[in-house]
Symmetry: none
Subunit: 248 residues, 2 copies
Protein backbone atom coordinates (compact mmCIF):
# COMPACT_ATOMS: atom_id res chain seq x y z
CA UNK A 1 0.00 0.00 0.00
CA UNK A 2 1.26 3.40 -1.00
CA UNK A 3 0.43 4.86 2.45
CA UNK A 4 3.10 2.64 4.02
CA UNK A 5 5.77 4.86 2.56
CA UNK A 6 4.41 7.90 4.38
CA UNK A 7 5.12 8.48 8.08
CA UNK A 8 3.53 11.02 10.39
CA UNK A 9 5.81 12.52 13.04
CA UNK A 10 4.38 14.16 16.17
CA UNK A 11 6.92 16.42 17.82
CA UNK A 12 6.89 17.09 21.60
CA UNK A 13 3.15 16.44 21.86
CA UNK A 14 1.83 17.61 25.25
CA UNK A 15 -1.61 15.97 25.51
CA UNK A 16 -1.70 12.17 25.39
CA UNK A 17 -5.28 12.34 24.05
CA UNK A 18 -3.95 13.91 20.87
CA UNK A 19 -1.59 10.99 20.28
CA UNK A 20 -4.47 8.54 20.56
CA UNK A 21 -6.73 10.64 18.33
CA UNK A 22 -3.88 10.90 15.81
CA UNK A 23 -3.54 7.12 15.62
CA UNK A 24 -7.26 6.81 14.99
CA UNK A 25 -7.28 9.60 12.38
CA UNK A 26 -4.37 8.01 10.53
CA UNK A 27 -5.84 4.53 10.55
CA UNK A 28 -9.17 5.66 9.05
CA UNK A 29 -7.15 6.86 6.06
CA UNK A 30 -4.97 3.77 5.71
CA UNK A 31 -1.86 5.32 7.28
CA UNK A 32 0.06 3.20 9.79
CA UNK A 33 3.49 4.63 10.45
CA UNK A 34 3.49 6.85 13.52
CA UNK A 35 6.66 8.43 14.95
CA UNK A 36 6.70 10.21 18.31
CA UNK A 37 9.52 12.63 19.01
CA UNK A 38 9.91 13.42 22.72
CA UNK A 39 6.23 12.87 23.65
CA UNK A 40 5.34 14.33 27.08
CA UNK A 41 3.56 11.14 28.12
CA UNK A 42 3.65 7.88 26.22
CA UNK A 43 2.38 5.26 26.62
CA UNK A 44 -0.61 6.19 28.78
CA UNK A 45 -4.21 5.12 29.34
CA UNK A 46 -5.51 8.31 27.79
CA UNK A 47 -3.55 7.66 24.61
CA UNK A 48 -5.03 4.19 24.35
CA UNK A 49 -8.61 5.16 25.07
CA UNK A 50 -8.69 7.95 22.50
CA UNK A 51 -7.16 5.64 19.88
CA UNK A 52 -10.36 3.52 19.82
CA UNK A 53 -9.39 0.41 17.82
CA UNK A 54 -6.23 1.90 16.40
CA UNK A 55 -4.07 0.46 19.18
CA UNK A 56 -1.97 -1.42 16.64
CA UNK A 57 -0.56 1.90 15.42
CA UNK A 58 0.45 2.75 18.98
CA UNK A 59 2.05 -0.66 19.49
CA UNK A 60 4.13 -0.13 16.39
CA UNK A 61 4.84 3.57 16.98
CA UNK A 62 8.50 4.55 16.95
CA UNK A 63 9.54 6.78 19.84
CA UNK A 64 12.55 8.83 18.75
CA UNK A 65 14.75 11.11 20.88
CA UNK A 66 15.47 13.49 18.00
CA UNK A 67 13.62 14.48 14.87
CA UNK A 68 16.57 13.51 12.70
CA UNK A 69 16.27 9.91 13.95
CA UNK A 70 12.63 9.85 12.88
CA UNK A 71 13.47 11.15 9.41
CA UNK A 72 16.02 8.49 8.54
CA UNK A 73 15.62 7.41 4.91
CA UNK A 74 13.06 10.12 4.05
CA UNK A 75 13.45 11.85 0.72
CA UNK A 76 10.58 14.28 1.20
CA UNK A 77 9.72 16.09 4.45
CA UNK A 78 6.70 18.35 4.79
CA UNK A 79 5.81 20.38 7.89
CA UNK A 80 2.33 21.54 8.87
CA UNK A 81 1.26 24.99 9.98
CA UNK A 82 -2.08 26.69 10.50
CA UNK A 83 -0.82 30.26 10.62
CA UNK A 84 1.50 32.43 8.65
CA UNK A 85 5.08 32.10 9.88
CA UNK A 86 7.66 34.72 10.45
CA UNK A 87 10.25 32.80 8.48
CA UNK A 88 9.42 32.48 4.82
CA UNK A 89 9.27 28.93 3.56
CA UNK A 90 7.79 27.43 0.40
CA UNK A 91 4.19 26.63 1.26
CA UNK A 92 1.53 24.42 -0.33
CA UNK A 93 -2.07 23.57 0.54
CA UNK A 94 -3.19 20.17 1.94
CA UNK A 95 -4.55 18.98 -1.39
CA UNK A 96 -1.27 19.59 -3.20
CA UNK A 97 0.53 17.97 -0.28
CA UNK A 98 -1.62 14.84 -0.64
CA UNK A 99 -0.70 14.57 -4.31
CA UNK A 100 2.97 15.23 -3.71
CA UNK A 101 3.25 12.64 -0.91
CA UNK A 102 1.40 9.94 -2.84
CA UNK A 103 3.36 10.62 -6.02
CA UNK A 104 6.62 10.31 -4.08
CA UNK A 105 5.45 7.10 -2.43
CA UNK A 106 4.53 5.65 -5.81
CA UNK A 107 8.06 6.31 -6.95
CA UNK A 108 9.19 4.12 -4.05
CA UNK A 109 10.41 6.99 -1.91
CA UNK A 110 9.91 7.49 1.82
CA UNK A 111 8.16 10.68 2.93
CA UNK A 112 7.32 12.32 6.27
CA UNK A 113 4.82 14.87 7.55
CA UNK A 114 5.70 16.79 10.72
CA UNK A 115 3.24 18.08 13.31
CA UNK A 116 4.50 20.48 15.99
CA UNK A 117 3.37 21.13 19.55
CA UNK A 118 -0.19 22.06 20.47
CA UNK A 119 0.84 25.48 21.65
CA UNK A 120 3.50 26.65 19.21
CA UNK A 121 3.53 24.31 16.24
CA UNK A 122 6.89 23.56 14.65
CA UNK A 123 10.00 25.29 15.91
CA UNK A 124 12.31 27.03 13.48
CA UNK A 125 14.76 24.16 13.87
CA UNK A 126 12.02 21.67 12.97
CA UNK A 127 11.10 23.74 9.90
CA UNK A 128 14.66 23.55 8.66
CA UNK A 129 14.17 19.83 8.08
CA UNK A 130 11.24 20.54 5.75
CA UNK A 131 11.29 20.77 1.98
CA UNK A 132 7.98 22.57 2.06
CA UNK A 133 5.30 23.57 4.56
CA UNK A 134 1.65 22.62 4.32
CA UNK A 135 -0.53 25.53 5.30
CA UNK A 136 -3.97 24.33 6.38
CA UNK A 137 -6.43 27.10 5.54
CA UNK A 138 -8.34 28.40 8.57
CA UNK A 139 -10.54 31.34 9.40
CA UNK A 140 -8.47 34.46 9.99
CA UNK A 141 -10.01 35.19 13.37
CA UNK A 142 -9.52 31.68 14.79
CA UNK A 143 -6.69 29.49 13.54
CA UNK A 144 -6.62 27.22 16.60
CA UNK A 145 -6.81 23.88 14.81
CA UNK A 146 -6.57 20.88 17.16
CA UNK A 147 -3.50 18.72 16.52
CA UNK A 148 -5.45 15.55 15.71
CA UNK A 149 -7.81 17.59 13.52
CA UNK A 150 -4.83 18.79 11.49
CA UNK A 151 -3.65 15.19 11.22
CA UNK A 152 -7.14 14.17 10.05
CA UNK A 153 -7.20 16.77 7.27
CA UNK A 154 -3.77 15.83 5.89
CA UNK A 155 -4.51 12.10 6.18
CA UNK A 156 -7.81 12.64 4.38
CA UNK A 157 -6.15 14.49 1.49
CA UNK A 158 -3.58 11.71 1.16
CA UNK A 159 -6.26 9.04 1.14
CA UNK A 160 -8.42 10.97 -1.32
CA UNK A 161 -5.61 11.10 -3.84
CA UNK A 162 -4.30 7.60 -3.14
CA UNK A 163 -7.77 6.14 -3.66
CA UNK A 164 -8.42 7.86 -7.00
CA UNK A 165 -6.24 5.76 -9.24
CA UNK A 166 -6.58 2.48 -7.36
CA UNK A 167 -10.16 2.48 -8.73
CA UNK A 168 -12.93 3.08 -6.23
CA UNK A 169 -15.53 0.31 -6.20
CA UNK A 170 -18.49 2.70 -5.94
CA UNK A 171 -22.10 1.75 -5.40
CA UNK A 172 -23.60 -0.39 -8.12
CA UNK A 173 -26.49 1.85 -9.09
CA UNK A 174 -29.82 0.60 -10.37
CA UNK A 175 -30.42 1.21 -14.07
CA UNK A 176 -32.09 4.55 -14.75
CA UNK A 177 -35.31 4.61 -16.72
CA UNK A 178 -34.58 5.31 -20.38
CA UNK A 179 -36.12 8.04 -22.54
CA UNK A 180 -38.85 5.80 -23.92
CA UNK A 181 -39.96 4.70 -20.47
CA UNK A 182 -40.03 8.32 -19.30
CA UNK A 183 -42.20 9.28 -22.31
CA UNK A 184 -44.62 6.48 -21.48
CA UNK A 185 -44.78 7.68 -17.89
CA UNK A 186 -45.46 11.28 -18.95
CA UNK A 187 -48.24 10.14 -21.29
CA UNK A 188 -49.83 8.22 -18.43
CA UNK A 189 -49.44 11.21 -16.09
CA UNK A 190 -51.06 13.55 -18.64
CA UNK A 191 -53.98 11.12 -18.97
CA UNK A 192 -54.51 11.01 -15.20
CA UNK A 193 -54.34 14.81 -14.88
CA UNK A 194 -56.96 15.03 -17.60
CA UNK A 195 -59.17 12.50 -15.78
CA UNK A 196 -58.80 14.58 -12.62
CA UNK A 197 -59.77 17.73 -14.50
CA UNK A 198 -56.54 19.15 -13.13
CA UNK A 199 -56.26 22.14 -15.41
CA UNK A 200 -56.45 25.49 -13.84
CA UNK A 201 -56.10 28.99 -15.10
CA UNK A 202 -52.78 29.35 -13.30
CA UNK A 203 -51.54 26.17 -14.92
CA UNK A 204 -52.37 25.86 -18.62
CA UNK A 205 -51.90 22.18 -19.54
CA UNK A 206 -48.75 22.62 -21.64
CA UNK A 207 -46.99 24.74 -19.02
CA UNK A 208 -48.11 22.42 -16.24
CA UNK A 209 -46.77 19.33 -18.00
CA UNK A 210 -43.49 21.07 -18.77
CA UNK A 211 -43.04 21.84 -15.09
CA UNK A 212 -43.76 18.26 -14.09
CA UNK A 213 -41.42 16.90 -16.76
CA UNK A 214 -38.65 19.18 -15.53
CA UNK A 215 -39.23 18.02 -11.96
CA UNK A 216 -39.21 14.29 -12.72
CA UNK A 217 -36.33 14.55 -15.18
CA UNK A 218 -34.30 16.20 -12.47
CA UNK A 219 -34.96 13.27 -10.15
CA UNK A 220 -33.85 10.78 -12.86
CA UNK A 221 -36.00 7.88 -11.62
CA UNK A 222 -34.61 4.39 -11.89
CA UNK A 223 -36.73 1.63 -13.35
CA UNK A 224 -38.12 0.47 -10.02
CA UNK A 225 -39.12 4.00 -9.02
CA UNK A 226 -40.82 4.56 -12.34
CA UNK A 227 -42.80 1.36 -11.88
CA UNK A 228 -44.00 2.59 -8.49
CA UNK A 229 -45.12 5.90 -10.02
CA UNK A 230 -46.89 4.14 -12.86
CA UNK A 231 -48.55 1.83 -10.34
CA UNK A 232 -49.86 4.83 -8.41
CA UNK A 233 -51.26 6.35 -11.62
CA UNK A 234 -53.05 3.10 -12.43
CA UNK A 235 -54.46 2.90 -8.90
CA UNK A 236 -55.79 6.46 -9.24
CA UNK A 237 -57.54 5.59 -12.49
CA UNK A 238 -59.09 2.49 -10.98
CA UNK A 239 -60.47 4.40 -8.03
CA UNK A 240 -61.94 7.48 -9.64
CA UNK A 241 -65.66 8.27 -9.42
CA UNK A 242 -67.45 6.83 -12.45
CA UNK A 243 -68.89 10.30 -13.10
CA UNK A 244 -65.45 11.59 -14.16
CA UNK A 245 -65.61 12.24 -17.87
CA UNK A 246 -63.13 11.21 -20.49
CA UNK A 247 -62.41 7.80 -18.99
CA UNK A 248 -62.59 4.48 -20.71
Amino acid sequence: MVQDSIRFCLIRTTHPGNIGATARAMKTMGLRRLYLIEPARFPSDEVTSRAANAGDLLDNAVVAPHLSDALKGCELVLGTTARGRKIEWPTIDPESAGRLLVDEARLGRQAAVLFGTERNGLSNTDVEHCHQLIRIPTDESYASLNLAAAVQIIAYEIYKYAAVSSSVPGTRARPKADAKEMQRFYRHLREVLHDLDFVKIQHPPVVLMRKLVRLFNRARPNREELNILRGILTAIQENLKPSRHGRK
Copy 2:
Protein backbone atom coordinates in the same frame (compact mmCIF):
# COMPACT_ATOMS: atom_id res chain seq x y z
CA MET B 1 -20.45 35.55 5.64
CA VAL B 2 -21.59 32.63 3.52
CA GLN B 3 -20.86 30.13 6.32
CA ASP B 4 -23.61 31.72 8.41
CA SER B 5 -26.25 30.10 6.19
CA ILE B 6 -24.88 26.64 6.96
CA ARG B 7 -25.76 24.90 10.21
CA PHE B 8 -24.22 21.73 11.62
CA CYS B 9 -26.62 19.45 13.52
CA LEU B 10 -25.27 16.87 15.98
CA ILE B 11 -27.88 14.21 16.68
CA ARG B 12 -27.98 12.35 20.02
CA THR B 13 -24.25 12.86 20.66
CA THR B 14 -23.06 10.63 23.50
CA HIS B 15 -19.65 12.06 24.44
CA PRO B 16 -19.57 15.70 25.59
CA GLY B 17 -15.95 15.96 24.41
CA ASN B 18 -17.13 15.52 20.84
CA ILE B 19 -19.49 18.49 21.15
CA GLY B 20 -16.64 20.71 22.36
CA ALA B 21 -14.28 19.44 19.67
CA THR B 22 -17.00 20.04 17.06
CA ALA B 23 -17.38 23.67 18.12
CA ARG B 24 -13.64 24.15 17.78
CA ALA B 25 -13.49 22.38 14.40
CA MET B 26 -16.34 24.50 13.07
CA LYS B 27 -14.89 27.78 14.30
CA THR B 28 -11.51 27.18 12.65
CA MET B 29 -13.40 27.04 9.36
CA GLY B 30 -15.59 30.09 9.97
CA LEU B 31 -18.75 28.12 10.79
CA ARG B 32 -20.78 29.30 13.77
CA ARG B 33 -24.24 27.75 13.78
CA LEU B 34 -24.32 24.62 15.93
CA TYR B 35 -27.55 22.68 16.63
CA LEU B 36 -27.71 19.89 19.19
CA ILE B 37 -30.55 17.41 18.97
CA GLU B 38 -31.06 15.45 22.19
CA PRO B 39 -27.43 15.64 23.39
CA ALA B 40 -26.67 13.12 26.16
CA ARG B 41 -24.94 15.79 28.28
CA PHE B 42 -24.97 19.49 27.56
CA PRO B 43 -23.74 21.84 28.86
CA SER B 44 -20.86 20.22 30.74
CA ASP B 45 -17.29 21.02 31.77
CA GLU B 46 -15.89 18.50 29.32
CA VAL B 47 -17.73 20.18 26.43
CA THR B 48 -16.27 23.53 27.38
CA SER B 49 -12.71 22.36 27.91
CA ARG B 50 -12.51 20.58 24.55
CA ALA B 51 -13.93 23.64 22.78
CA ALA B 52 -10.76 25.65 23.57
CA ASN B 53 -11.66 29.23 22.66
CA ALA B 54 -14.78 28.33 20.70
CA GLY B 55 -17.07 28.77 23.71
CA ASP B 56 -19.09 31.39 21.84
CA LEU B 57 -20.41 28.66 19.53
CA LEU B 58 -21.54 26.67 22.55
CA ASP B 59 -23.21 29.73 24.10
CA ASN B 60 -25.16 30.26 20.90
CA ALA B 61 -25.84 26.57 20.21
CA VAL B 62 -29.51 25.68 19.71
CA VAL B 63 -30.65 22.62 21.64
CA ALA B 64 -33.61 21.08 19.81
CA PRO B 65 -35.88 18.26 20.99
CA HIS B 66 -36.45 16.95 17.46
CA LEU B 67 -34.46 17.03 14.25
CA SER B 68 -37.34 18.68 12.41
CA ASP B 69 -37.12 21.66 14.79
CA ALA B 70 -33.45 22.06 13.95
CA LEU B 71 -34.16 21.98 10.21
CA LYS B 72 -36.72 24.77 10.19
CA GLY B 73 -36.21 26.94 7.10
CA CYS B 74 -33.56 24.66 5.55
CA GLU B 75 -33.79 24.12 1.82
CA LEU B 76 -30.89 21.69 1.57
CA VAL B 77 -30.15 18.92 4.06
CA LEU B 78 -27.09 16.66 3.77
CA GLY B 79 -26.30 13.72 6.05
CA THR B 80 -22.86 12.29 6.75
CA THR B 81 -21.82 8.65 6.67
CA ALA B 82 -18.50 6.83 6.76
CA ARG B 83 -19.73 3.44 5.60
CA GLY B 84 -21.97 2.06 2.92
CA ARG B 85 -25.60 1.96 4.05
CA LYS B 86 -28.17 -0.72 3.58
CA ILE B 87 -30.68 1.67 2.08
CA GLU B 88 -29.51 3.29 -1.10
CA TRP B 89 -29.45 7.07 -1.01
CA PRO B 90 -27.86 9.53 -3.43
CA THR B 91 -24.31 10.01 -2.19
CA ILE B 92 -21.62 12.61 -2.82
CA ASP B 93 -18.07 13.13 -1.57
CA PRO B 94 -17.05 15.85 0.93
CA GLU B 95 -15.57 18.08 -1.76
CA SER B 96 -18.78 18.12 -3.82
CA ALA B 97 -20.71 18.69 -0.59
CA GLY B 98 -18.58 21.75 0.19
CA ARG B 99 -19.33 23.20 -3.22
CA LEU B 100 -23.03 22.41 -3.03
CA LEU B 101 -23.42 23.93 0.44
CA VAL B 102 -21.55 27.10 -0.41
CA ASP B 103 -23.39 27.53 -3.71
CA GLU B 104 -26.72 27.17 -1.90
CA ALA B 105 -25.68 29.64 0.78
CA ARG B 106 -24.65 32.13 -1.89
CA LEU B 107 -28.16 31.90 -3.35
CA GLY B 108 -29.45 32.99 0.05
CA ARG B 109 -30.66 29.55 1.08
CA GLN B 110 -30.29 27.89 4.45
CA ALA B 111 -28.56 24.50 4.51
CA ALA B 112 -27.85 21.86 7.14
CA VAL B 113 -25.35 19.04 7.59
CA LEU B 114 -26.35 16.19 9.91
CA PHE B 115 -23.98 14.11 12.04
CA GLY B 116 -25.36 10.97 13.73
CA THR B 117 -24.36 9.18 16.90
CA GLU B 118 -20.82 7.99 17.63
CA ARG B 119 -21.88 4.37 17.58
CA ASN B 120 -24.41 4.10 14.79
CA GLY B 121 -24.35 7.28 12.74
CA LEU B 122 -27.65 8.51 11.34
CA SER B 123 -30.81 6.46 11.79
CA ASN B 124 -32.98 5.64 8.79
CA THR B 125 -35.48 8.22 10.03
CA ASP B 126 -32.72 10.86 10.12
CA VAL B 127 -31.68 9.92 6.59
CA GLU B 128 -35.19 10.53 5.29
CA HIS B 129 -34.70 14.22 6.01
CA CYS B 130 -31.66 14.28 3.71
CA HIS B 131 -31.54 15.26 0.08
CA GLN B 132 -28.18 13.57 -0.26
CA LEU B 133 -25.61 11.83 1.89
CA ILE B 134 -21.97 12.78 2.15
CA ARG B 135 -19.78 9.70 2.19
CA ILE B 136 -16.42 10.48 3.76
CA PRO B 137 -13.93 8.12 2.15
CA THR B 138 -12.14 5.88 4.65
CA ASP B 139 -9.94 2.81 4.58
CA GLU B 140 -12.03 -0.31 4.02
CA SER B 141 -10.63 -2.11 7.03
CA TYR B 142 -11.18 0.73 9.51
CA ALA B 143 -13.99 3.25 8.92
CA SER B 144 -14.18 4.37 12.56
CA LEU B 145 -13.93 8.09 11.99
CA ASN B 146 -14.29 10.15 15.17
CA LEU B 147 -17.35 12.42 15.14
CA ALA B 148 -15.41 15.67 15.51
CA ALA B 149 -12.94 14.46 12.88
CA ALA B 150 -15.82 14.01 10.43
CA VAL B 151 -17.02 17.51 11.32
CA GLN B 152 -13.50 18.84 10.69
CA ILE B 153 -13.30 17.30 7.23
CA ILE B 154 -16.67 18.66 6.09
CA ALA B 155 -15.98 22.08 7.63
CA TYR B 156 -12.60 22.15 5.90
CA GLU B 157 -14.12 21.36 2.49
CA ILE B 158 -16.71 24.12 3.00
CA TYR B 159 -14.04 26.64 3.95
CA LYS B 160 -11.78 25.62 1.09
CA TYR B 161 -14.48 26.31 -1.46
CA ALA B 162 -15.89 29.38 0.30
CA ALA B 163 -12.43 30.93 0.36
CA VAL B 164 -11.76 30.36 -3.35
CA SER B 165 -14.13 32.93 -4.73
CA SER B 166 -16.57 35.08 -2.86
CA SER B 167 -18.31 36.05 -6.07
CA VAL B 168 -22.02 35.36 -6.39
CA PRO B 169 -23.16 33.03 -9.18
CA GLY B 170 -25.77 34.38 -11.55
CA THR B 171 -29.18 32.76 -11.52
CA ARG B 172 -31.58 33.81 -8.85
CA ALA B 173 -33.34 30.47 -8.47
CA ARG B 174 -36.86 29.97 -7.17
CA PRO B 175 -36.97 29.16 -3.48
CA LYS B 176 -36.77 25.45 -2.78
CA ALA B 177 -39.39 23.90 -0.55
CA ASP B 178 -38.08 23.75 2.99
CA ALA B 179 -37.94 20.73 5.28
CA LYS B 180 -41.31 21.41 6.88
CA GLU B 181 -43.09 21.80 3.55
CA MET B 182 -41.56 18.54 2.35
CA GLN B 183 -42.75 16.75 5.49
CA ARG B 184 -46.26 18.09 4.93
CA PHE B 185 -46.18 16.88 1.32
CA TYR B 186 -45.04 13.40 2.38
CA ARG B 187 -47.83 13.22 4.94
CA HIS B 188 -50.34 14.13 2.25
CA LEU B 189 -48.84 11.59 -0.17
CA ARG B 190 -48.98 8.84 2.46
CA GLU B 191 -52.64 9.69 3.06
CA VAL B 192 -53.50 9.45 -0.63
CA LEU B 193 -51.66 6.14 -1.04
CA HIS B 194 -53.63 4.85 1.90
CA ASP B 195 -56.89 6.07 0.33
CA LEU B 196 -55.91 4.29 -2.88
CA ASP B 197 -55.16 1.09 -0.99
CA PHE B 198 -51.79 1.25 -2.68
CA VAL B 199 -49.98 -1.23 -0.52
CA LYS B 200 -48.82 -4.38 -2.12
CA ILE B 201 -46.82 -7.32 -1.02
CA GLN B 202 -43.86 -6.16 -3.11
CA HIS B 203 -44.04 -2.75 -1.46
CA PRO B 204 -44.57 -2.76 2.31
CA PRO B 205 -45.75 0.76 3.27
CA VAL B 206 -42.55 1.84 5.05
CA VAL B 207 -40.26 0.70 2.25
CA LEU B 208 -42.56 2.21 -0.37
CA MET B 209 -42.63 5.60 1.35
CA ARG B 210 -38.86 5.55 1.81
CA LYS B 211 -38.42 4.98 -1.91
CA LEU B 212 -40.77 7.83 -2.76
CA VAL B 213 -39.08 10.15 -0.25
CA ARG B 214 -35.72 9.36 -1.77
CA LEU B 215 -37.05 10.07 -5.26
CA PHE B 216 -38.65 13.42 -4.40
CA ASN B 217 -35.76 14.53 -2.18
CA ARG B 218 -33.46 13.94 -5.10
CA ALA B 219 -35.60 16.19 -7.30
CA ARG B 220 -35.57 18.97 -4.67
CA PRO B 221 -38.87 20.56 -5.69
CA ASN B 222 -39.15 24.31 -5.50
CA ARG B 223 -42.19 25.80 -3.82
CA GLU B 224 -44.23 26.13 -7.00
CA GLU B 225 -43.58 22.53 -7.98
CA LEU B 226 -44.54 21.35 -4.54
CA ASN B 227 -47.79 23.29 -4.79
CA ILE B 228 -48.57 21.56 -8.07
CA LEU B 229 -47.91 18.14 -6.52
CA ARG B 230 -50.04 18.98 -3.49
CA GLY B 231 -52.79 20.23 -5.83
CA ILE B 232 -52.74 16.91 -7.68
CA LEU B 233 -53.01 15.00 -4.40
CA THR B 234 -56.01 17.11 -3.37
CA ALA B 235 -57.64 16.56 -6.77
CA ILE B 236 -57.19 12.81 -6.38
CA GLN B 237 -58.85 12.86 -2.96
CA GLU B 238 -61.77 14.88 -4.28
CA ASN B 239 -62.37 12.53 -7.15
CA LEU B 240 -62.14 9.14 -5.49
CA LYS B 241 -65.11 6.80 -5.43
CA PRO B 242 -67.11 7.39 -2.25
CA SER B 243 -66.77 3.68 -1.49
CA ARG B 244 -63.05 4.09 -0.79
CA HIS B 245 -62.52 3.65 2.90
CA GLY B 246 -60.50 5.84 5.19
CA ARG B 247 -61.57 9.10 3.63
CA LYS B 248 -63.12 12.09 5.32
